[in-house]
């Protein structure tokens, strides 16, 4: 809760204050992709062997071999990393839940973000965020999940992922290529100039 704490002290404080298993769970809850043991250990500020031990304990725990009940999710090591998954025997339940949802419409926020990506690609999340002046993480996730945008490449310096639009978007718009998008300059050019200066390229 110390706002002025430096980076390292945040971890130190957490290490001091809370059990390792909680910190591991906190990270696992928010990772999209499987996270490797070493990266996880760095994130929670504990030695690799201790984290490995904790992961094993959590696997057992979630599988009902600990003190609590079996969980509806499980912790699996896939492709060299760890991630939470729906326990396999609930897959059908989840499939039905997802399939039964109302046909999806994109929110205004998602549409605007999509428009920014369409006109500015390749573009990183933080660049989009600075144009939209809001955090766009979850919206980008939605667009990715919908197949409207794709990850193009990672910036060689920063590692930030650059996004672009997919062919699926072109089909939705009824055009054959991005060249057919109506021009929206000069506003775009102005925005782009100011924006390139302020970000990493």
């Amino acid at each position: 809760m110390t706002d002025d704490s430096s980076s390292s002290s945040v971890i130190e404080e957490a290490v001091r204050d809370t059990p390792l298993s909680e910190r591991v769970e906190a990270i696992l809850l928010i990772v999209d992709e499987p996270i490797g043991l070493v990266a996880l250990a760095a994130a929670v500020g504990s030695p690799v062997p201790a984290v490995r031990q904790t992961l094993e304990t959590l696997v057992d725990d979630y599988d009902g071999r600990g003190h609590g009940p079996r969980r509806g999710f499980e912790l699996r090591e896939v492709g060299g990393g760890w991630r939470l998954y729906v326990r396999e025997n609930h897959d059908d339940l989840v499939a039905e839940f997802i399939g039964g949802q109302a046909p999806a419409r994109l929110s205004q926020a998602a549409l605007e973000t999509l428009a920014v990506i369409a006109y500015k690609q390749p573009v990183t999340r933080s660049q989009v965020a600075s144009i939209r002046a809001v955090n766009v993480d979850s919206v980008v996730r939605t667009l990715l999940a919908r197949g409207l945008i794709t990850e193009l490449f990672a910036d060689s310096e920063t590692g930030a992922i650059n996004y672009g639009t997919s062919d699926a978007l072109l089909q939705h718009l009824g055009i054959n290529s991005l060249d057919e998008l109506p021009p929206i300059s000069p506003l775009l050019d102005d925005g782009a100039d100011g924006f390139d200066e302020g970000t990493i390229r």
Partner: protein, 282 residues
């Protein structure tokens, strides 16, 4: 009822005068509430004013100063009760405190009503201003929270319902324009109060065009056909500005005589023009 000065929640309120200690007791008198009139009388006596002359804004300031020292929701709750009482009483003032037996002229009533209306609005506005702090606090706290928002597993993603797409490509472009529009939140500007009617920059552009098209030109020719004094002034200022930039030379053979201008700039860019006369913008 006489807390030490450093506990006085009204320390920074305007004109704390001698009523300081009484008003500092708001917190106390709220817990053992004697009656609504005590509160109102407190407020009025503090400003040593006749009730019909109560400085509404001063009362509001006191109230706000009191509010600003409330922290948790429970106290905010109490504060809103206070708000009801105070505002209701002030509302009653119009009916109750008009001089009895005297001829009340409609204008005086209207004036009082207008004042109370103002006060009600002030209180209302301040109440929203106050509660906006709660919004800020909650938004800020929640900004730091992390919710599970993880992309669906590939195997589940395939089962997602079809996307409903209704935008045409033109709709999409319009949306892009909206998205790229600057998001900055404007402040209440005063620019419209003294908006420049004539742009020195525009006039300078005309001057530059005229000068570059001929060998020399007199100022009289430069403003030929112009009837609006503002434009004449603006063109003269732009001549001075251009001279400052060494973009032109002029000669005047006798005082108040004909002013002859010549284009003198070796290098000239529109960029210079864009910043010309910036001193006159404010």
């Amino acid at each position: 009822m006489a807390p030490s000065p450093e506990q006085n929640p009204l320390a920074d309120a305007p004109e704390p005068v001698e009523g300081v200690e009484e008003t500092a007791g708001f917190r106390v008198s709220l817990t053992n509430f004697d009656g609504p009139f005590d509160l109102l009388l407190n407020l009025i006596s503090k400003h040593e004013m006749d009730i019909t002359e109560v400085s509404l804004s001063a009362v509001t300031n006191d109230f706000i100063a009191y509010l600003s020292h409330l922290d948790d929701d429970e106290e905010l709750d109490q504060a809103s009760e206070f708000l009801v009482v105070a505002a209701t009483l002030l509302d009653m003032k119009v009916a109750g405190l008009l001089p009895q037996g005297e001829l009340v002229d409609a204008e005086a009533v209207a004036l009082l009503e207008a004042r109370d209306l103002l006060f009600a609005r002030l209180l209302q506005y301040r109440a929203f201003k106050e509660v906006s702090a709660w919004f800020a606090r909650c938004l800020q706290r929640e900004d730091r929270r992390h919710v599970r928002a993880v992309r669906l597993d590939e195997k589940h993603r395939r089962q997602t319902p079809e996307l409903v797409w209704t935008l045409t490509v033109d709709d999409f472009a319009a949306l892009a324009l909206l998205a790229f529009a600057p998001k900055e939140i404007p402040h209440v500007g005063l620019d419209h109060l003294h908006a420049p009617l004539i742009s020195i920059r525009e006039q300078a552009a005309i001057v530059v065009t005229l000068l570059r098209s001929t060998e020399s030109v007199s100022f009289r020719e430069l403003v030929a056909g112009v009837t609006e004094p503002g434009i004449v002034v603006a063109r003269f200022i732009s001549v001075l500005e251009l001279y400052r930039h060494a973009a032109l030379s002029f000669e005047q053979l006798e005082p108040l005589g004909e002013l002859t201008l010549r284009w003198a700039a070796d290098t000239w860019s529109d960029e210079t023009l864009a910043t010309l006369g910036a001193d006159y913008d404010r």
